[in-house]
């Protein structure tokens, strides 16, 4: 693959979408930390925002999509989505337009972050292109709405294979398919069938399956049951937020969207309008997403150094943002990480 030809020191260009709400603040933290760590990356910024949506025009201009495709790597802050009305989610549009079919969301208890729960160490692999997110809805007659969930064999097998490959490459031992095939017999049934079929090709990885409500209960009481989880779109969204809650909140969990040709790091959390513009956000989630991106780019050493600096600051507990019970501003916390590098 052409990407492997470049070496660790060549300067590379990565697309940066600061996003809405707290997006610009946490993106700034990422830029500062990566620069301080001497990561050979320069940024090309794209001001995608709900504010820049022009009615009647493409939600995301095609030249912007082309640029991200050309660069192959990107990182984005959260984009705001209107509720119940208005334009389609920009986060979603971006994932679909770029063919980012698998969403990787590791969720691990961080040393030093107190939780009430047993230690969690799971990687959530979420199908990212279809399911409930296809956006096919209509009003059949007044007062009756239908919403389509679409599951295809192609997408299900693709994400299942991705999960098993991920498990193998990352020395994980078990993949659990999460589903609701007891009710959604055909749709989740097919997803489950695909997972079973792909599982047979990976005898070295244990395969299990679990109903979504069992998984959500057990993640709280016996998380050691789970290792890598593979889920349909909405289920993945819900379970990853649940898992984030178990390890200390949305401010801490990373996420990477993977496609055939494009990789896009983004935090799991939203725009957090309540704290936007106040320098109060926790940039850890986006920083750890950037770490995942660096790993994907083959910049292991840089990734390790940055991750280590983040974990050190969190473990020492002197400088923490408010969501973690601290008093530090986003910028102060960022500075603390930089001084650990």
């Amino acid at each position: 693959h052409w990407r492997t030809l470049s070496t660790a020191n060549t300067m590379r260009t990565v697309a940066l979408i600061p996003g809405d709400g707290i997006g610009p603040e946490i993106s700034d933290a990422v830029k500062k930390v990566l620069a301080a760590a001497g990561v050979p990356i320069q940024w090309e910024e794209y001001p995608i925002s709900t504010k820049n949506v022009v009615p009647g025009q493409d939600l995301i201009p095609s030249n912007v999509l082309d640029s991200i495709r050309r660069l192959g790597y990107g990182i984005k802050g959260p984009l705001e989505t209107p509720i119940g009305k208005g334009h389609k989610s920009l986060n979603l549009t971006l994932r679909q337009a770029l063919g980012l079919y698998a969403n990787v969301r590791p969720c691990r208890t961080i040393p030093g972050i107190q939780t009430k729960f047993p230690a969690v160490d799971v990687v959530i692999i979420r199908e990212n292109t279809e399911g409930e997110y296809v956006g096919l809805e209509h009003e059949v007659v007044p007062g009756v709405v239908e919403s389509l969930k679409v599951i295809t064999r192609v997408a299900s097998e693709r994400v299942a294979r991705f999960a098993f490959e991920f498990a193998r490459q990352n020395k994980r031992r078990r993949v659990t398919a999460i589903h609701k095939a007891s009710v959604l017999k055909l749709s989740d049934g097919m997803f489950l069938d695909c997972c079973r079929r792909i599982a047979a090709e990976y005898p070295d990885i244990e395969f299990k399956e679990a109903l979504i409500e069992l998984c959500s209960g057990y993640l709280i009481s016996q998380p050691e049951r789970y290792d890598v989880l593979v889920l349909t779109n909405l289920a993945g969204d819900i379970i990853s937020d649940l898992a984030a809650g178990l390890v200390g909140g949305l401010g801490l969990t990373a996420s990477l969207n993977k496609g055939e040709h494009t990789v896009l790091a983004e935090a799991v959390h939203g725009t957090a309008p309540d704290i936007a513009g106040k320098d109060l956000a926790n940039p850890t989630a986006l920083l750890l997403s950037a770490v995942l991106l660096l790993r994907d780019m083959g910049l292991q050493e840089h990734a390790n150094r940055i991750e280590h600096a983040i974990y050190t600051v969190l473990r020492e507990g002197q400088v923490r943002t408010r969501d973690l019970g601290g008093k530090a501003l986003c910028s102060e916390y960022t500075q603390a990480i930089i001084s650990k590098l």
Partner: protein, 345 residues
């Protein structure tokens, strides 16, 4: 079908469907407790040996006659193409509201001490419509149906429940940022009903954020209004936080009848037949039924006994970290009832 009025003093007839897995064991415990308390109800028990063939006519007749069901879980195998007994009962008898109460169980070490959440879940439509088809080979569509009528009805139920039980807030859970029309309609109906209850606080919350907030700060929730599938997931989160699935009861309420069962329905296949299932949720579901029947004294009596087993003894079934069998736990409840009676006399 309009059931004949039951004269005061008559024994109330209840249809009992023990179900599969741990159902029969838990139901046995319930019957033992009710008998020991001399509750004036009588159970008509129906076993459904072939649940994949649907509801037998005799069961449909019995439910129509009694309009009250105590039910155990029915396991739905994934390959099974028909409709599960659980859904047939809920939809067939229009039991539109699923109510699960998660409360602090004294003596149980829960993740949080002051969880007190009532989940009101739409029980008849949404993702459970059963409308799925394969468009072409390898492409499946599944329909989620949301109707204004049913969304208004469940929202109305949630607010009335809140009002009658002195609750302060209703949180409507949705994913209307993505399912703009379907969940959008559900949310809009909830808002409309909320405007008629200005003395009850109303808020809306996205389902993934709800799970996240529930595990980190469950005290903020009071009455939670949910579409069908989210109710299933969030219900499991809430009961797990409260100390375990085996503890909390649930009711399915319709315009002309009700069905009671463990709050989060699990067949518990892994432990069934070993006599170690936790009957607490089932016994408390019986208590909910007694309240529904306005037999408040019996309800309080049994509930007090169950609570004091948890508060005053360390008799626990294995799911709660103990070694007691279902029968030993049940005997402990009955012993507490005897003690309470003795104190009274």
């Amino acid at each position: 079908v309009y059931p004949a009025a039951t004269a005061v003093g008559d024994t109330k007839l209840i249809t009992m469907l023990p179900g599969e897995g741990i159902g029969p064991e838990c139901m046995e415990a319930l019957v033992a407790v009710f008998e020991a308390a001399h509750v004036p109800v009588e159970f008509e028990t129906y076993h459904i040996p072939e649940p994949e063939k649907g509801l037998p006519a005799s069961v449909i007749d019995a439910v129509n006659r009694n309009r009250l069901v105590m039910k155990g879980p029915f396991h739905t195998p994934y390959g099974f193409k028909g409709t599960s007994i659980n859904i047939l009962l809920r939809r067939g008898f229009d039991l539109f509201a699923n109510v699960v109460h998660v409360f602090p169980m004294p003596g149980v070490k829960a993740k949080y001490d002051d969880i007190d959440i009532v989940l009101v879940r739409e029980n008849t439509e949404g993702e459970y419509s059963g409308l799925e088809h394969s468009a072409v080979d390898g492409v499946v569509e599944s329909l989620k149906i949301v109707t204004e009528e049913h969304s208004l009805r469940i929202a109305e139920y949630a607010f009335r429940y809140a009002m009658r039980n002195n609750r302060k807030k209703v949180t409507c859970v949705h994913k209307a940022n993505i399912l703009k029309s379907a969940d959008g309609l559900f949310l809009e109906c909830a808002r409309h009903v909320a405007s008629k209850y200005p003395f009850i606080e109303f808020e809306s919350m996205i389902v993934d954020a709800t799970c996240m907030r529930m595990v980190s700060n469950p005290e903020q929730f009071d009455v939670v209004l949910l579409p069908n599938l989210y109710g299933n997931i969030v219900g499991s989160v809430a009961t797990s936080l409260g100390g375990g699935t085996g503890l909390f009861p649930g009711a399915n309420i319709g315009p002309s009848g009700a069905m009671f069962e463990q709050g989060v329905r699990h067949a518990g296949k892994g432990i069934s037949g070993r006599g170690i299932a936790n009957p607490t949720a089932t016994i408390l579901a019986g208590v909910m039924m007694l309240r529904y029947l306005k037999m408040f004294d019996f309800a309080d009596f049994i509930q007090d006994a169950v609570m004091s087993v948890y508060q005053e003894t360390d008799i626990r079934t294995p799911d709660m970290g103990g070694k007691a069998t279902t029968k030993q736990f049940t005997a402990a409840v009955i012993e507490k009832m005897d003690a309470i009676m003795e104190e009274l006399s």
